[in-house]
Amino acid sequence: MRLNKIFKNTLLVISAGIILTACATKKEVAVEKEAPKETKKEEVTKIEKIAGQMQGDVYVGTESVKYLADGVADRVFFATNESILTTASRETLRAQAAWLRENSNITVVLEGHADERGTREYNLALGERRANAAKDYLMTYGVSSDRITVISYGKERPVDSGSNPLAWSKNRRSVTVKAN
């Protein structure tokens, strides 16, 4: 039963990986198309910098990430308009789940967020959906639902006030916050 579950999850991870790769390829093409227009050197550097911190359009950097415990990152990131958990997100959430299983007195709030490139009300719903994606995953790994509260802030509480793809990618997130 348990093996079966893990097998299923692996499959999901693989398929998510495939989707991500597809996204990444698309994005690179778009960047290449735009690149010739940007003649300034600094613009080129910026694109390279973004490429290092984003995979597809999901943030993979560590800036703004906090830690619930040693090696337990507090947040996961999402692609534009998506609430699918990436391989890295699943890893983060498994670490969170393990930490929560060890500290059974701790309850958490999952705060779902969206970037500024969407209408306010839809973003509230999207934030809720993202936080719930994280919640479902934590539950799959043995965290009881009554220890988890979900709240969405939509685009109301960005961590990065920039108006660029990198800033937006940091803002599309679900953050696990200790509630007690």
Partner: protein, 446 residues
């Protein structure tokens, strides 16, 4: 406040038909109608009395200024420079010398008189057709002096209606969210102001996040989203009394509220387990009804003015698009099929159009389409703008716009803007603080 405001309207003469002047508001008006707003005349005793009560040197000219300003911002009228006026205000109100007004190319003339009678403010005004040398309208209002701005707005509405054939939108208020502070920690308060920005008032203190206030079209109630105690819920606020209450008892986030056209129901989204569906709550019976039931995000619902249909946006097709359904949730039809994402549909008070926000290739548009999705017309393009709200006559849209920040993440601002349905007359609405989520009230007087 509304109840206190009793206006007595006397019609001096029956309105004669066959006026020559007519303003077509269905097209972008590049030649606004030249008209003269002669300052209202006032006798010295009345002037002094009002100066004492209202601390305004000349209340008559202040009222004229309101009328002038309203008519100008509508984009349909061009109030002429008062320096060119040849006739004194008091004489003009008795019998205009039409040749003089014709000379400065005024096609219409507004004259009037202000009196202090029994502690009340009495204002009479007349609208004249200069070319036909005829009076088109004559009305008088009596009210408490503190309502002087509203008298100016009501006169503007009457003139607008007489010259365009459609109701005006000047005696109205805007409720919105006042914003301050850095983008990452915005402080938001509910605020209300007159349509022209005057009488700004904050309704909440900013202790909790508040979003998306909307007027009840039938009264001065407002529904909005508040994060009070960190629980995002739909609330109801009575502007007159300041009383607030949470709407319904939902085990999760309720958001995107709007009133039904009769003001008896609130329609909103309820989010649970990653799904958002549309619900209504009857404010009298407290009965909650589920309208949509779909694993997707269904939100931003808005009723048709007859209450029979609901438009909303949903990502059930994979992307955010606009749908229309019957008010019981049946017959769901997608109506937006253009390139890009579509959101925030709002049904026009005239019933024929749906205004929306569109995101396409990194740009945000405010647009309108017919209720079957045909005839899409984009009115304005920008880095970020959304949430159109209709003027009560369905001729103007107000929305908010956010600026792109610089490479350091600085320079963020949010402002209210309005644009005519024609796509012309785009205007910044000046507010004390940054502002977003505007909602236009109905006409306060009718």
């Amino acid at each position: 406040m509304i109840k206190k405001f009793i206006i007595l309207i006397f019609i001096f003469f029956p309105i004669k038909a066959s006026a020559l002047i007519e303003v077509d508001i269905t097209r972008g008006n590049l030649n606004p109608l030249p008209l003269a707003v002669s300052p209202l005349s006032i006798d010295e005793t009345s002037r002094k009395n009002f100066q004492q009560i209202l601390d305004k040197e000349n209340i008559a000219s202040e009222i004229s200024l309101i009328v002038e300003n309203n008519l100008r911002t509508s984009g349909l009228f061009n109030p002429l420079d008062k320096k060119a006026f040849l006739q004194a205000p008091d004489i003009a109100n008795l019998k205009p010398r039409f040749e003089d007004w014709n000379l400065i190319k005024a096609q219409a003339l507004i004259t009037g008189k202000v009196n202090y009678i029994n502690d009340k403010l009495r204002v009479e005004f007349r609208l004249w057709d200069v070319l036909a040398a005829k009076e088109m309208m004559a009305l008088a209002f009596t009210t408490v002096p503190t309502n002087w701005r509203r008298v100016g707005h009501i006169i503007s509405d009457k003139v607008y209606e007489r010259l365009t054939g459609e109701k005006g939108y000047f005696d109205t208020r805007i409720i919105y969210v006042a914003e301050e502070g850095p983008k990452t920690q915005r402080i938001k308060k509910l605020a209300i102001m007159d349509q022209d920005g005057a009488n700004n008032k904050f309704l909440t203190l900013g202790n909790e996040l508040v979003l998306t206030p909307r007027f009840n079209p039938a009264s001065q109630m407002v529904t909005y989203l508040s994060y009070f105690k960190n629980m995002p819920r739909v609330y109801l606020l009575d502007i007159e009394t300041g009383t607030q209450e949470v709407v319904g008892d939902f085990p999760g986030m309720t958001f995107a509220p709007r009133f039904s056209p009769d003001g008896k129901k609130i329609i909103m989204s309820f989010a649970k387990d990653g799904k958002s569906d549309i619900y209504t709550m009857n404010l009298e019976t407290r009965l909650v009804e589920r309208i949509t039931n779909h694993p997707s995000i269904d939100t931003s619902p808005s009723y048709s003015p007859d209450g029979k249909y609901i438009t909303f946006n949903s990502d059930r097709s994979g992307y955010q698009q606009i749908y229309v359904m019957k008010n019981d949730g049946s017959d769901v039809k997608r109506i937006s099929f253009g390139n890009g994402l579509y959101g925030t549909p709002v049904w026009s008070p005239r019933g024929d159009l749906i205004a929306f926000t569109k995101l396409h290739k990194g740009k945000f548009y405010i647009g309108v389409m017919r209720t079957d999705g045909t005839g899409e017309r984009l009115l304005t393009e920008n880095y970020y703008q959304e949430a159109p709200s209709w003027s009560p006559n369905g001729r103007v849209l107000i929305f908010y716009r956010e600026t792109k920040t610089n490479s350091k993440g600085e320079g963020f601002s949010a402002k209210l803007w309005s644009i005519d349905l024609t796509g012309y007359n785009e205007r910044l609405i000046t507010t004390e603080t940054d502002a977003s989520d505007p909602s236009w009230s109905s006409l306060l007087s009718n």
